[in-house]
Amino acid sequence: MKDVFTIANKNFNSRLIVGTGKYKSFEETANAVKASGADIVTVAVRRVNILEKNQPLLMDYLDPKSITYLPNTAGCYSSEEALRTLRLAREMGGWRMVKLEVLGDKKTLYPNMIETIKSTEILVKEGFDVMVYCTDDPILTKKLEDVGACAIMPLGAPIGSGIGIQNKINIALIKEQSLVPVIVDAGVGTASDATIAMELGCDGVLLNTAIAEAKNPVLMAEAMKHAVIAGRKAFKAERMKKRQYASASSPQRNLI
């Protein structure tokens, strides 16, 4: 049975979205992305280094025609900066689907939700499909949906922390009430964290550091691919009820 992942009317096979930062080389980035099976990769917008001519570009290793680039606004601390970045990204090659993140604090990289909501509203009016990195607050995620976000992306834990989903209750609540896809973005450290996100019913997982900082990134990318599939299937299969005491697996009758 096909289990298509749809964001802003576009269909994707993989529910895993991976970042392309923190890798040792573009080769390693490309190999890890391939092993992860992701259809979407996040990318950042930065100044070209004028002094280094003919330097290799990410696009030379990850073809934007065969994988969906999701431009992000990492490093932006105000609505103005984020809007400028995404408008430039769109001009680069027609990207309409973007990842908005407006940060509020350098130490925690926690999102500034006031600026985030404001930016989402403007970007939606400008015709962007906005996937939004946000806190795991169900009231604020509802607000994001109201202003037109095409995907809600609550953090499982701070960016790059690798400590896994800290508030499963909120993530499940957000998923339950949301009409657009919910993708856990940030905090995943290892395969089981990604599986938990999917078991909670989330539509997808976005991660970067968990793969890039693994000792063997390509192997971890493969693990994440399976982890997301496993979690999704477990969710769809509807798990057994939990019991306080044992329940024997072998029949009790006709014992010898």
């Binding site: 573009f26 100044r47 004028i50 408008r87």
Partner: protein, 72 residues
């Protein structure tokens, strides 16, 4: 004669000398940058790719050229 045809612009935050009157396409050629791999802002305004040829750079223009890099 000296420096008569040279204009100083701000390119990605740093002073940069160009031949006065060149357009954005010519600047990209000089920098060996493919226009499909970047986006450009001149004096805070994004320039569409099909307008590069008509955009003549002037003294003190602020030019930003950006690309995609790895990010999360």
């Amino acid at each position: 004669m000296n420096n008569l045809n040279v204009a100083k612009i701000q390119l990605n935050g740093k002073p940069y000398e160009i031949n006065d009157g060149i357009n954005l396409n010519e600047l990209l050629n000089k920098l060996k940058i493919h226009k499909n791999k970047v986006a450009i802002e001149v004096n805070g305004e994004i320039v569409e790719k099909n307008k590069y040829i008509n955009l003549i750079l002037n003294k003190n223009d602020k030019v930003e050229i950006v690309k995609f890099i790895g990010g999360g």
